[in-house]
Amino acid sequence: MTASAQAPAHDLPLVSPELVTELLELARAQGGEFAEVYAERGVHSGLALEENRLRHAQYSVHQGVGVRVIAGEQTGYAYADGFDPGDLREAARVAARIARGASAGARPPAFRVVDAPPPFVLHEPAPLTLETEAKADMLQRANAAARGHDARVHEVSASMADSSRRFLVANSDGVWAEDTMFLARLTVSVVAADGQVRQHGLATGGGSVEARYFTAERPPESIALDAATSAVTLLAAREPDAGSWPVVVAPGWGGVMVHECFGHSMEGDGIRKHSSIRATQRGQLVAAPCVTIVDSGRVPFSRGSFRVDDEGTPAQRTVLVQDGILVGYMWDVLNARLANERPTGNGRRASYREFPLCRMTNTWIEPGPHAPGELIASVDRGLYCKHLAGGSVNPADGNFSFQVTEAWRIERGRLTEPVRNATLTGNGNDAMLKIDAVANDLVIDGTTGSCGKDGQWKPVGVGQPTVRFTGITVGGTRT
C-alpha cells in the first residue's frame, strides 16, 4: 500500500478488519444494499498573530467513525466520536434503520486493498516537519515584511494552520482504502491606511506541501509582500463603473469562476436528480469552442488532491468539457450507482461526522493559444480582475457572483488605474459561452480554496490561464 505522503509503516489500521467486517454486517442487518465504514483521526494546529503579538497557539485532535447505509436512493448515516467498539456498533445499528427490511446482514466479500499510485509524494510534509517554533518565526517574519513594505501599512494579521488527516474507508463491496493527507496554509492580511482611507489586502501560501515550500518556493516574506502591495495599491483605487463590460480575469485563483459558474452544475447529485440544467446537455455546446474544462484529484501539491477519495475511489482526471462540448460528469458512489455510471473519485466529506457528497477536486480551464497580454491589448474599455475573493452560485437558477478585491481599469488596451470592490454577476447557464479568448499561462491554485456544499467545507484547487469574457455585469456605485 502506498500513501500520498509517507505514513509510519508500523501504524495499525484505525479500526481492525474484524471489527469493520462486523460493523458492515450490522449496518446491512435491515436489508441495506450497501454499507460503508469510515474512520478518521484528524489533527489540526494553528498559530495566530495580530497587533504584533502571537495571540495564541492551538491544537486539536478529533477522531471517530461514521457508518453509512444505502437502500435504494436513501442514505442512513450515524457516527460515533472515538473508537469505542460499543459506540461503533450502535452507530451501525442506527444507520441500518434507513432500510426497513429484516434480512440478515450479509458478510462482505474479502477486502481488496486499493493500491492506486499516489499523485505525488511528500518526503517532509510541512505539518510533521515544522516545529511550533519555526511556525511562530514564520509569522513574525511575515509581520515584519508587511510592516516594512510601506509606512502606510497600518495593521497586519497572520496565521499558520496545518493539519493531518488519516482515514480508513471500507465498504460492503470489499473496498479497503487507507490514506494520510497533510495540509498547511499561511495567510497574511494587511490593512493600509492613508488619512481616512483604509484598504485591505490578503495573500496566502500553502497546499499539500513540504516544509521547504515555505523556504524555497513561497517564503512568508513573499506572501506578506503580496498582501501589503495589494492593500497599499487599493488606497488609490477608484470605485468600479457600473454596467456590463469586457472582463479579463487573471490566471490561477480566478478559476473560482469556472468552479462556481460551471463545476457545481456538473456534480453527479444534481445530474442524477435532474436539478441541474446540465443533466440533459451531454454532447451539446455548453462553453465557447476555445474552452476545455478538467477536474482532477491528481494535481501535485494541491489542497484538492488525494490518492483515493473519501469513498476509496482512486483520484482521476475527468474531462468535463472538450472544446466547448459537454463530455463527462463527476460522480460519487451513490449517484454513480443510481445513474449507472462509474465513480470518478469525486466522493468527498468534511469529516467522519458527515456522509460523502459529490464534490469537485481541482477544477480548471485548459490553456489556449494566446499570450496573456493579447487579451488585454484588444479591449477598448473593460476590467482586469487581478484578485478575486470568494464567489457563490445558486445551482438551481444559475445566478452567480464574485467579489473582486483588486481590479484594474482597461482603457485602450492598457491597465490604467486600480479599481476596488467590484462584484461580478451573471448566470452560470451561459457564462462559459461568453469566453472569447484563453491565454497560454495556466496556473492551478491549490494553496487556499475551500468549497462549501450542504454545510460541508472541503479543500479544493481551482485554476485557469488568463481568460477574457465578452461582457459581464460589474457592480459598482459609479454610473
Binding site: N52, Q74, D87, Q199, A242, K273, N399, T423
Partner: protein, 463 residues
C-alpha cells in the same frame, strides 16, 4: 454516549458535564497553567432530507467535545478534542501548557473572574424545549415530506424541489474556569426549510427557498404556510431579467436587510477598534445613520435563536444596543479586548468548544418601525425591491456593499416584473444615512432579524 436513545438526554447529564469541566480545569492547573478554562458541549442532532416524495437521507449524531484554554505566564494555549478519558485530558492539558510558551506574553490575557463574569442565576430564556427531543423520528420525517408535498402542489409550474429538510438539535454545555466561574446550560432548536423549483422559459428554472429555525417547537410556523411561501418565491421569479444601470431607491426585504446587519456586526467589535480597522472607527457616541435605525444584539432575548445565558467565557450575556436611533451607542468586548480597552466584557464572546472565543453576535436585530411593508413599497415611484443576494460582496474594512441581487422592478408603488442579473452597490455609511423607512414586519426566524428597510438611493448595475 448513546446514539440509540433519540429521546431526551439522561437526567444529570448537565451535572456530569460540569464535573468533567471542573476536572479538566484541575488537571490543567496541575500541568502548570496559571489559569484554565474548560468548555464541554454534548449535542444530539437528527437531520432528515426528503426529495421526490421519499427520504433521501437520515442522519443521527451525538457529539461530545472539550475545549481547554490555559494561560501560563500571561501566554495563551488552546486545545480541543473529543477523547475525554482521564489520561487523554492529562495529555491535552500538558499540550496546552506547552503550546502557550510560543504565544506572546500579554497582561490583558486573563480569564474572567466571578465578579467580571456576573453573579446570580440566569433567567429562564426558554431556549430548551423538551418537546423537540421528544419528537418521534417518524414525525420529523413526515414534517419534511409535508413541506415538499405542499410546495409541489402549490403551483402547476412547480414540478421538482431541491429537497425539504427538517433537523433538530439539543444539547448541554458546561463551562468552568480556575477563578471559580461555573456554568451549565442547555438549548434546543428545530429547523425546517424547502427549496421548490419552478419551470422558466428555455429550460431554465427558478428556485425559491424558505424556512426557519426556532428554539420552541410551538414557534415553528405552520408547515403548509412555510411550503406555500417557498413556492410563491419560486414562481414569482419566473421571467426574471436584468434592468438597465440606474441610481434608485431600494427596498431591502427582511432577509437582505438581515444579511447586511450580520456583515455590519464586526464593525462594532472592540477588537477592530483597537486595531484601527473598523469602518466605524471613532464614531462611538456620534450619529452614524437615520434616526429610524436602532440595532440590538441581545444575548438574553427569550427564545432567541442566538440567545444563550452565558457567553463563550462564562460571562453573563445581556442586551446590547449598538445603534440607538441613529447614534452609535457602544462597542462589543470579550474579556481580553475589554482588558486592553479598560472596559468590561459585554458578554459577546462566541465560540464552539473546538475554538477560542471571538467577538460575535447573539440574537441580532433591527428594532421594528411603524410602516407596513406595503406602505413602504407604495412610497417607491421607481426603484428596486431586493429580496435575494449572492454570498460575497461586503468589505469589512471600508463598509462597501456590492451584491449580486434578485428581486422586482418597482414603479408607482407596485412590483412590475422580476429581476435578476444585476448588482446593488453602496457604502454602509451612506446606506445607514439614507434609511427612509423601517417596516413593522420584524419576525424572528433565525438568529438575525430585520424588518423591511427602504434605502433612499443605491446603484443598480445591469444591462
Amino acid at each position: 454516549m448513546s446514539l440509540a436513545s433519540d429521546v431526551a438526554r439522561a437526567p444529570g447529564d448537565r451535572e456530569a458535564l460540569a464535573r468533567l469541566a471542573a476536572d479538566a480545569v484541575a488537571r490543567a492547573r496541575r500541568a502548570g497553567a496559571d489559569e484554565a478554562e474548560a468548555l464541554i458541549e454534548h449535542t444530539h442532532a437528527f437531520t432528515v432530507r426528503v426529495h421526490g416524495g421519499a427520504i433521501e437521507s437520515l442522519k443521527q449524531s451525538g457529539t461530545l467535545g472539550l475545549g481547554l484554554r490555559v494561560i501560563a505566564g500571561r501566554r495563551v494555549g488552546f486545545v480541543s478534542g473529543n477523547d475525554l478519558r482521564p489520561e487523554s485530558l492529562d495529555d491535552l492539558a500538558a499540550h496546552a501548557v506547552a503550546l502557550s510558551r510560543y504565544a506572546t506574553a500579554d497582561e490583558a490575557n486573563a480569564l474572567p473572574t466571578p465578579d467580571e463574569a456576573g453573579t446570580g442565576d440566569a433567567p429562564d430564556l426558554e431556549l430548551d424545549d423538551p418537546a423537540i427531543a421528544a419528537l418521534a423520528p417518524e414525525r420529523r420525517i413526515e414534517m419534511a415530506l409535508t413541506l415538499e408535498r405542499v410546495a409541489l402542489a402549490a403551483d402547476p409550474r412547480i414540478h421538482r424541489t431541491d429537497g425539504a429538510h427538517v433537523s433538530t438539535h439539543f444539547g448541554d454545555a458546561a463551562l468552568a474556569n480556575s477563578h471559580g466561574v461555573a456554568r451549565a446550560w442547555g438549548a434546543s432548536a428545530i429547523r425546517a426549510y424547502v427549496v421548490p423549483l419552478a419551470d422558466d422559459r428555455d429550460g431554465k428554472q427558478q428556485s425559491g427557498a424558505y424556512g426557519m429555525v426556532q428554539r420552541q417547537l410551538r414557534d415553528l410556523a405552520d408547515l403548509e404556510a412555510i411550503a406555500r411561501e417557498a413556492a410563491r418565491r419560486a414562481v414569482a421569479r419566473i421571467g426574471a431579467r436584468p434592468v438597465p444601470t440606474a441610481r434608485v431607491p431600494v427596498v431591502l426585504h427582511p432577509d437582505v436587510a438581515g444579511a447586511w446587519i450580520a456583515e455590519m456586526h464586526a464593525a462594532f467589535g472592540g477588537d477592530q477598534h483597537l486595531k484601527g480597522t473598523s469602518w466605524l472607527l471613532g464614531r462611538v457616541g456620534s450619529r452614524i445613520g437615520s434616526e429610524l435605525f436602532t440595532l440590538v444584539d441581545d444575548g438574553r432575548m427569550a427564545k432567541g435563536a442566538g440567545s444563550e445565558p452565558w457567553d463563550g467565557e462564562g460571562v453573563a450575556t445581556r442586551r446590547n444596543v449598538l445603534v440607538d436611533r441613529g447614534r452609535m451607542a457602544m462597542l462589543l468586548y470579550d474579556t481580553y479586548h475589554a482588558h486592553r480597552a479598560g472596559a468590561r466584557s459585554t458578554g459577546s464572546a462566541v465560540r464552539s468548544y473546538a475554538g477560542v472565543p471571538f467577538i460575535g453576535p447573539h440574537t441580532l436585530y433591527v428594532a421594528a418601525g411603524t410602516d407596513s411593508p406595503e406602505a413602504i413599497l407604495s412610497r417607491v415611484d421607481r426603484g428596486f425591491y431586493m429580496d435575494d443576494q449572492g454570498s460575497y460582496g461586503f468589505d469589512d474594512v471600508t463598509g462597501d456593499y456590492s451584491y449580486q441581487a434578485q428581486g422586482f422592478w418597482v414603479e408607482r408603488g407596485e412590483k412590475r416584473f422580476p429581476v435578476e442579473g444585476v448588482t446593488v452597490a453602496s457604502n454602509s455609511l451612506d446606506m445607514l444615512d439614507r434609511i427612509v423607512a423601517v417596516g413593522s414586519d420584524l419576525e424572528f426566524e433565525s438568529s438575525i432579524a430585520s424588518p423591511t428597510l427602504l434605502i433612499g438611493e443605491m446603484t443598480i448595475s445591469g444591462s
